[in-house]
Each structure stands twice: as structure tokens, then as C-alpha cells.
Amino acid sequence: MAIKVLKPGLATTVQDLGRPGYYNIGIPLSGGMDRLATRAANMLVGNDEGAAVLEAVFMGPELEFTADATVAVTGADLPPKLDGAARETWTSFSVKKGQVLSFEFLKKGARAYIAVSGGIDVPVVLGSRSTYALGALGGFKGRKLEAGDELPVGHGKGAKDGRSVPANLRRAPGNPAELRMVPGLYWHRITEEAGKHFFADTWKVAPEADRIGYRFKGGRPLDFVPRQQPFGAGSDPSNIVDACYPYGSIQVPGGTEPIVLHRDAVSGGGYFMVGTVISADMDLIGQLQPHTQARFVGVDLDTALKARHEREGVIEKIRAALS
């Protein structure tokens, strides 16, 4: 069985739960930016939660199926259509051989996850089928989809039509989105005043935000505590001696526009980081459209771990609801 790509969308890629274990040698995590939506899409169609799905950003692809399958679309409110007839998001539906899946305009959120029973069966590279487009690694030929591509699909048992993730277990960012973060090792580099307005200001997602990093604009620039730059650090006060960049870390080059590193990020460099967005809120970033508002909320590590535990609880509830 295969899926023929009639129209690719803007930047549709094959993603699973990622490629952990190689960040220390510069190969990022990759995988779906909204992990809950990735897992839920797979659960709805009877796949393992870590099967490969399609991540469509801002705009849906147009896909023709060469065999019957079960399909589900989760994440963003990107309404699916089957041969032109509306289908629900977050709900399984069956597709017959020869039918075409397309999408309406994006209504809410940013990234939709399209799961197909059997999973997208591209080769596993370093333990994952995820696409890392910048490094031309994994996924379908290491790149976003193009018209004319034929995606191999594995064998799946499928699932019944109309299975749905209860609405209270879905999650979408508020307006402004609240992104909780733990202040980091370099927090002392900015003035107390700068630290206050970093949290007080409302930021806006920059149009260039992508899988590598989400850039935010519109808050006041951060002032730095004066110092003589140490040997090995660049001359700008936002420079540090090269360090590791965690997934979720917030760098602020020049003190002006915070960038939250996401699934396809570089693993290190010479910009100071104010802190790290907690793992429980990273899914929300994947659903932010350009020009939408966000605020950073400082929390401690205990709160971050508790929030992570709560997110795991929600996934457990989705499993129970669909079992």
C-alpha cells in the first residue's frame, strides 16, 4: 500500500516520536513538535504510539490512497475532507482505495498530524523514521514531501471508524499562550529589571519560527550585567563560551528576540540562555501560528516535573478512552 502525494502542502514531513541519543554529536531529536497529538493520531488508527505519521504545518497536503486504510488527523484544527466530504479531526475514519484526502484552510493551531493504519514505512535511520530536513536525514528521502512522491505504508490492523479523543483531553494554547520556563544557568547575566520585564511583556511569534526554533518579538530588549567577556566568548554581551543547548532552551541573541529551540535545533553554540521551556509545554509551541501572542512564566523544577507527570496522566487517559 502507498500514498500518492498529489499536493505536498507547505512543509509536510514524516515524523515519529524522534531520534533521542545523538544530540551530543549534533543530531537533533526531531519527531513531531506536538508529541501528544502524534501519539493520539497513532492510537486512533490502531498503530503503536511511535509509528511514523505526517506532520503538516499551516496547510494540508492532498493525498491519494492506493489501498483501504484507517486515518486520523489530530493537533491543529485543519479540517480534513475525503473526496470533498468533511471529516472530523481527532476522530478515526476509513478511507477506501482511490479516495483523496485533502484539507480546508487552517482554523486554529499550526500543525496537524495525519496517521494512517500501518504507519508511514520509510527506512529507520538512527532509530527513527523522523525527518531532519536541515541534515537531509531520515523521513522520505531526508526532505519535506513533494508532488509525485509515493509514500510506503506498513501493514496495520486498523481501527473502527468514529473513535474519538474526548475534547477535554485535547490541548491547545491559550491567547496569549503561557509558556512555563525554568530560569537557567545564565540568568545572572541579565539585570534584575530585565528579568522582570522578560516575564511581564507579551511577545509575538515571528513569521520565521520553524521546527528548529521559535522566535518571539515585541518584548523589551534585555539589559546585561556588565562584565569583561571571558576568553572564548564573543564580544556581544549575549555571547558565552560555547555551551550545550538543551531542547526547549531560550536563547536571546543580542538580548532582543528570544528563540526557543525545538525538535530540529542545533545542539550547542555561543549564545546565553535565559532558561528552558518545561517539557510539558513544548507541545504548545508547535501549535503557535505566526503573530500570535505568548508570555513566559517562570517556574521551579518541582513544578516542571509535576507538570510533566500531569501530561503523562493525560496520555494515559487517552489510552484508556481508546482501548
Binding site: L10, A11, V57, F58, M59, E104, F105, L106, K107, A110, P207, E208, A209, D210, Q289, P290, H291
Partner: protein, 78 residues
């Protein structure tokens, strides 16, 4: 009933190919199917927005450099 051309993407709308270039189209201009009327910038890429019907541009409904949502009307063609 005039036709409204909708933005396929969220992002920033531009009415010219580059800051020092003339506008793609002005109000009152004739357009053919496939004519570029503007760009949407998102994720470091500039995506052309093309007319889906032929006619005359009645009015631009989004300004140059305006943030737009997917499905938002950009221009009215009659």
C-alpha cells in the same frame, strides 16, 4: 458577486516581490488566472499567492506587510 482571494497560509502579506520593486498589482488592474498578486512570508519562505479567477481587482482587503490568517480575504476580484 465579486470573488475574494483567500490567503492559503498564516503569515505576513507582501504586495511587492522585494522592498525596492513595484507592486505586483494595483487596484483597477486586470488579472488573469495564475497571476501573482502577492507573497505570504512564513517559516523563512515566501509563497506566491496567485489569482484563481480572471477579472479586475476591485480592492485589496489586506495591506502590505499586514499579518494575515489562513483563509483571510486578501483581494476582491470582479
Amino acid at each position: 458577486m465579486p470573488h475574494e482571494l483567500l490567503s492559503p497560509l498564516p503569515g505576513t502579506f507582501y504586495r511587492r516581490p522585494a522592498p525596492d520593486k513595484p507592486l505586483y498589482k494595483n487596484e483597477g488592474d486586470e488579472v488573469a488566472v495564475g497571476d501573482v498578486i502577492g507573497l505570504i512570508e512564513v517559516m523563512k519562505s515566501f509563497n506566491e499567492v496567485k489569482a484563481e479567477v480572471a477579472g479586475k481587482i476591485v480592492k485589496f482587503l489586506a495591506d502590505n506587510e499586514e499579518p494575515v490568517m489562513a483563509g483571510q480575504a486578501l483581494v476582491e476580484i470582479a
